[in-house]
C-alpha cells in the first residue's frame, strides 16, 4: 500500500464526498488549507471500481481528474490505430478508367505515409505515454490522470479500466488547481514524470534518439517541470535564451510580432519542443511562446542543453536542421504578411490558407457536380460543401484550406492532428474520434467518418463485437489521383484548387504568381 495513512481512513460509498479530515491525512493534501477543503467539501469524492470497470472512456468530455489511492488501472486506446485512407489507386487500364476511391482504415504498417512523424509513443492525459505498437499502460497508486480534461475541459484522451479493485479520488478543477500549487503534490507528480515519462518523452523526439541512457539519467534529476497559466508568456521575443523546453501538458502558441500585429507561427502540444533556435543561434529569443491553456513544460537549462549538443553531434546537427527549417518557414510567413495588404483577403482568413478550393461563380452553373464527385469519391460522404465566403467572383468552398494557423490542432487530447513539413494537415492513426478538431476548425472543414470495426467485448471476455468508431477526415486532395475529383468532375471549368496568394495575385496588386497558379 502506497499510503499507509489509508489504513486509518474509513472508506465511504462510491460518490460520497471525502471528508476534509480524511483528505488531510493523505500526504499529498498536507499542504492544503483545511478551510479550503471544508469549503469545497463536495469537490472530491470517493470512487470505487471493481476489476474490469471503466473509469472513463476516450473521447468523452468531462471535468474531473482522478487520483489513484489503491489498486491498478490500465490505460488504453480502444479506437483502432489507423488513419482514414482513400483507397483506389488505379493499376490496370480498366481500373484507371473506373477507379473509385473508398475510405477505409489503414494502419501505419500497411500504409506508411510519406513524411510521417516518426512517433514511437502516443501522448495521453496521464503520467505515461502509450507505446505506438501496443497502446496500453498501467497506472498505480499515487498517479493522477485526467489533468487536461479537468483543467482545460478537453475530451478524455484514453480509456481507463480498473485492472484490480481500485479506490480513487475524483476531484474537480478547484481542488486540482490548489493541489498543483502544493509543494508536496508537485514533488510527487514531478517524481512520477521523471521516473515514468521523461525517457519516452525525450526519445519520442527523433533528434534525441541518439542520447544515451546515462545522459538521460543525468538529465532526469536536473530538468525542471514548470507550469504556466492560460495566456502566460513562457519566453518573449528578444529576451535572452536561457532554456530549452519540452511540452508536457497543454498547448503553446508560438508567435512573432510584426508591424501591425502578431503572426501565429505554430501551436505546440505534448511531445513538441521549442527554444532551440535562440540557444543555437544568437542567444536571443526569435519568437514569443505563450500558454494557450494550462501548460506544463519540461525546462532544460541552457547549460545542460549545451552539454547535450556538445556531447552528441548528431543531436546538434538535427536541432540545427530543424531550427533552419523553422526559421525559413517563419521568414516565408512574415514575407507574406508584409506583402498582402488587402483587408478583406486577410479578414476572410485567405492569407492563412495554403490551398483553397475556389469556384468561379461567373462560370459555375450550380450543378453540384463537384459535390457529387466528392461524395462518390468518399463513400457517399462529401468533404466539401458548395457554400462559403466570397472573394470577388470566387466562392471559397467549404473544404480543407490547409491553414498556416491550424486552429484545428489546438486541443487534440492525443496530439493526433498535425502538419507535415509541407504544411499539409494530417490526422494521425491514433485519432480517437472525439471530434474536437472538427469543432475547432473555424471553417467547418473537418468531418467525422464512421466505420464499423470489431472491438473487444468487455462484457464477454474473449469475444468481439461490431462497434461504430469515428475518425476525423478532411479533404485529402484525392492524392490517389492526379487531380482532385471535384475539380476533375466540373464540366464548366469553374472549380480549381489553388494557392491563394498566387491565384489572387493580380487582385492583390502583386505581380502574377508563378507558373501553375491553378493546381487542378
Amino acid at each position: 500500500m502506497l499510503f499507509e495513512e489509508l489504513k486509518d481512513i474509513e472508506r465511504q460509498p462510491d460518490g460520497t464526498p471525502v471528508a476534509a479530515e480524511d483528505l488531510l491525512r493523505l500526504p499529498v493534501f498536507k499542504d492544503i488549507s483545511p478551510q479550503f477543503l471544508k469549503k469545497n467539501a463536495n469537490a472530491t469524492v470517493w470512487r470505487h471500481f471493481r476489476r474490469g470497470d471503466v473509469v472513463c472512456r476516450e473521447g468523452e468530455f468531462g471535468s474531473t481528474a482522478f487520483y489513484i489511492l489503491e489498486g491498478k488501472a490500465s490505460v488504453e486506446l480502444a479506437t483502432p490505430i489507423a488513419h482514414v485512407k482513400a483507397q483506389g489507386r488505379p493499376t490496370g487500364f480498366l481500373t484507371r478508367l473506373t477507379s473509385k476511391l473508398v475510405s477505409r482504415l489503414a494502419p501505419r504498417e500497411e500504409d506508411r505515409r510519406e513524411d510521417e512523424a516518426d512517433r514511437r509513443s502516443i501522448p495521453i492525459d496521464a503520467p505515461v505515454d502509450l507505446a505506438y505498437d501496443h497502446p496500453v499502460a498501467e497506472l498505480g497508486p499515487g498517479e493522477l490522470f485526467g489533468e487536461m480534461t479537468c483543467m482545460n475541459y478537453y475530451p478524455r484522451s484514453a480509456t481507463v479500466r480498473a485492472v484490480t479493485d481500485c479506490t480513487m479520488l475524483e476531484m474537480l478543477r478547484n481542488v486540482l488547481d490548489v493541489l498543483q500549487k502544493s509543494k508536496a503534490f508537485r514533488a510527487q507528480l514531478d517524481e512520477t514524470y521523471r521516473r515514468r515519462a521523461l525517457d519516452s518523452h525525450l526519445r519520442d523526439v527523433s533528434i534525441f534518439r541518439g542520447l544515451t541512457q546515462d545522459f538521460i539519467d543525468h538529465l532526469r534529476d536536473r530538468v525542471e517541470l514548470v507550469r504556466f497559466a492560460p495566456g502566460q508568456v513562457i519566453c518573449k521575443q528578444g529576451d535572452p535564451a536561457d532554456s530549452f523546453y519540452l511540452v508536457r501538458l497543454g498547448f503553446v502558441k508560438v508567435s512573432e510580432g510584426y508591424p501591425g500585429g502578431e503572426l501565429v507561427l505554430a501551436y505546440l502540444s505534448r511531445g513538441d519542443y521549442f527554444g532551440e533556435i535562440g540557444l543555437l543561434g544568437g542567444g536571443t529569443r526569435t519568437a514569443t511562446c505563450s500558454a494557450l491553456d494550462h501548460v506544463e513544460v519540461v525546462r532544460i537549462s541552457a547549460e545542460d542543453f549545451r552539454a547535450m549538443v556538445e556531447k552528441y553531434p548528431t543531436v546538434r546537427s538535427g536541432l540545427e536542421r530543424i531550427a533552419r527549417e523553422r526559421q525559413e518557414a517563419n521568414r516565408e510567413r512574415l514575407r507574406m504578411v508584409r506583402s498582402v495588404p488587402l483587408e478583406s483577403f486577410l479578414a476572410q482568413g485567405l492569407m492563412e490558407a495554403q490551398s483553397l478550393l475556389v469556384l468561379d461563380l461567373d462560370k459555375c452553373t450550380r450543378c453540384d457536380a463537384c459535390v457529387t464527385a466528392c461524395a462518390d469519391s468518399h463513400d457517399g460522404v462529401t468533404r466539401l460543401v458548395r457554400e462559403g465566403l466570397r472573394f470577388e467572383n470566387f466562392l471559397v468552398a467549404t473544404s480543407c484550406r490547409q491553414c498556416r494557423d491550424p486552429l484545428c490542432m489546438v486541443g487534440c487530447p492525443v496530439g493526433a492532428i498535425r502538419r507535415r513539413n509541407s504544411l499539409e494537415v494530417i490526422i494521425e492513426d491514433w485519432c480517437i474520434g472525439c471530434a474536437l478538431c472538427s469543432k475547432n476548425c473555424p471553417y467547418g472543414n473537418i468531418n467525422m467518418h464512421s466505420f464499423a470495426v470489431q472491438a473487444e467485448d468487455h462484457e464477454n471476455p474473449g469475444h468481439k463485437k461490431a462497434v461504430v468508431q469515428k475518425k476525423a477526415t478532411t479533404c485529402d486532395l484525392c492524392t490517389e489521383h492526379a487531380e482532385p475529383s471535384c475539380v476533375y468532375a466540373c464540366p464548366h471549368d469553374a472549380a480549381h484548387r489553388v494557392e491563394p496568394r498566387d491565384f489572387f495575385a493580380e487582385s492583390l496588386g502583386q505581380r502574377v504568381g508563378r507558373a501553375g497558379r491553378v493546381r487542378g
Partner: protein, 291 residues
C-alpha cells in the same frame, strides 16, 4: 459553360471540320432534286459522322453519372458536347441535301433543330446567367436548402414578433376572431408592426410565390418599411430593420430559385428531345441501311 477564349482550339477545329464537310458537300452534292443525297456514299458518310457526333454529345449525360471515373476531364466532355453537337446540324443537313423529308426523316429533322436550338439557348443561358446570379444574389444558398432557409427566416420573423410582444391581438387576428366572440383590441405602440407582419410580411414569407405581394418588389418594399417606421417609435426601428433584412433575403431566395430554374429548366426540354433524337436516329439508320 462560359464560352470564352479558352474555347479557341475547339472553335478553330470545328471551323476546319465545317470547312472540309462544306467542301465535300460542294463537290459531291446531288444536283438532281429527285435523287436522295443520303443514299450516296458521301451522304452516308455525312450521316454517320453527324450521328456519331450526336451520340458523343449524348454521352455527356452518362459521363456526368460517373464523375469519379477517369474518362477524361468533365470540361473536355462539355466542350466536345457543345462543339461536336453543333457540328452535327450541318452534317445532317448535308446528309439530307437540305431536304426536310417525310415521316420519320421529317420528325428527325424537327427534333434535331429543336435539340440544337434548345442547346444553343441553354449554352447562352449558362454563359450569362451565372454572372447574373453572382451579381444579383449576394445571399445565395445551396438550391436544395432554399426551403429550409425560408423556414428559418419565418421562424426568425416570428421570434422578432414575439419580442415585440406588447398589447393584445393585432387587428388582423381580430378580424379572424371566432364568430360571436368578443374581440378586444388593445392598441399599443407595436400594433402597426404586428398588423404589417400579419397582413403583409407573414403571407409573403409563408408563400412567397403565391401572393402578389408588394414586398416582392425591392422599391415597393423599401417604401412600405419607411412608412412603417414613421408609424412607430424609434425603439422599434431595429426590429423593423431586422424584418426588412428578412424580407430582402426572401426576395433573394425567390430570385435565386427563378434564376436556377432558368439555368437548368431548359434541360427538361433538351434532354428528352436528345434521347428521342438518338433513339429515332438509330431506327432511321437501321431502316435506311436494311431496306
Amino acid at each position: 459553360m462560359r464560352i470564352d477564349r479558352t474555347h479557341k482550339g475547339w472553335f478553330i477545329a470545328s471551323l476546319v471540320i465545317f470547312g472540309v464537310v462544306l467542301l465535300l458537300y460542294g463537290i459531291y452534292r446531288v444536283p438532281d432534286a429527285s435523287q436522295s443525297m443520303g443514299g450516296t456514299a458521301t451522304g452516308l458518310w455525312f450521316g454517320s459522322v453527324g450521328f456519331a457526333f450526336m451520340i458523343f454529345a449524348g454521352l455527356l449525360g452518362a459521363r456526368k453519372r460517373v464523375p469519379v471515373y477517369r474518362l477524361g476531364r468533365a470540361q473536355t466532355w462539355m466542350r466536345g458536347h457543345l462543339w461536336l453537337g453543333l457540328l452535327s446540324l450541318p452534317l445532317i443537313l448535308f446528309h439530307s441535301g437540305f431536304r426536310y423529308g417525310h415521316g420519320l426523316t421529317a420528325l428527325l429533322m424537327t427534333l434535331l433543330i429543336l435539340v440544337v436550338a434548345s442547346g444553343i439557348f441553354g449554352a447562352a443561358l449558362q454563359h450569362y446567367m451565372p454572372r447574373v446570379m453572382t451579381r444579383e444574389v449576394t445571399m445565395e444558398t445551396i438550391y436544395d436548402e432554399i426551403d429550409h432557409v425560408r423556414a428559418q427566416l419565418l421562424e426568425e420573423a416570428e421570434g422578432l414578433m414575439k419580442q415585440v410582444g406588447g398589447g393584445g391581438k393585432s387587428a388582423a387576428s381580430e378580424d379572424q376572431g371566432e364568430p360571436g366572440g368578443i374581440a378586444v383590441a388593445v392598441a399599443d405602440e407595436a400594433t402597426p408592426v404586428r398588423n404589417f407582419y400579419e397582413r403583409e410580411l407573414k403571407p409573403f414569407l409563408e408563400e412567397p410565390g403565391v401572393h402578389r405581394s408588394a414586398l416582392a418588389d425591392a422599391a415597393l418594399a423599401r417604401g412600405a418599411f419607411t412608412q412603417l417606421r414613421a408609424l412607430v417609435p424609434a425603439s422599434l426601428h431595429t426590429t423593423i430593420e431586422d424584418l426588412e433584412g428578412i424580407c430582402q433575403e426572401e426576395r433573394q431566395l425567390t430570385l435565386q430559385a427563378r434564376l436556377h430554374l432558368w439555368l437548368h429548366g431548359w434541360l427538361l426540354v433538351h434532354i428528352p428531345l436528345s434521347l428521342a433524337l438518338i433513339l429515332l436516329g438509330a431506327v432511321h439508320a437501321v431502316m435506311a441501311l436494311r431496306f
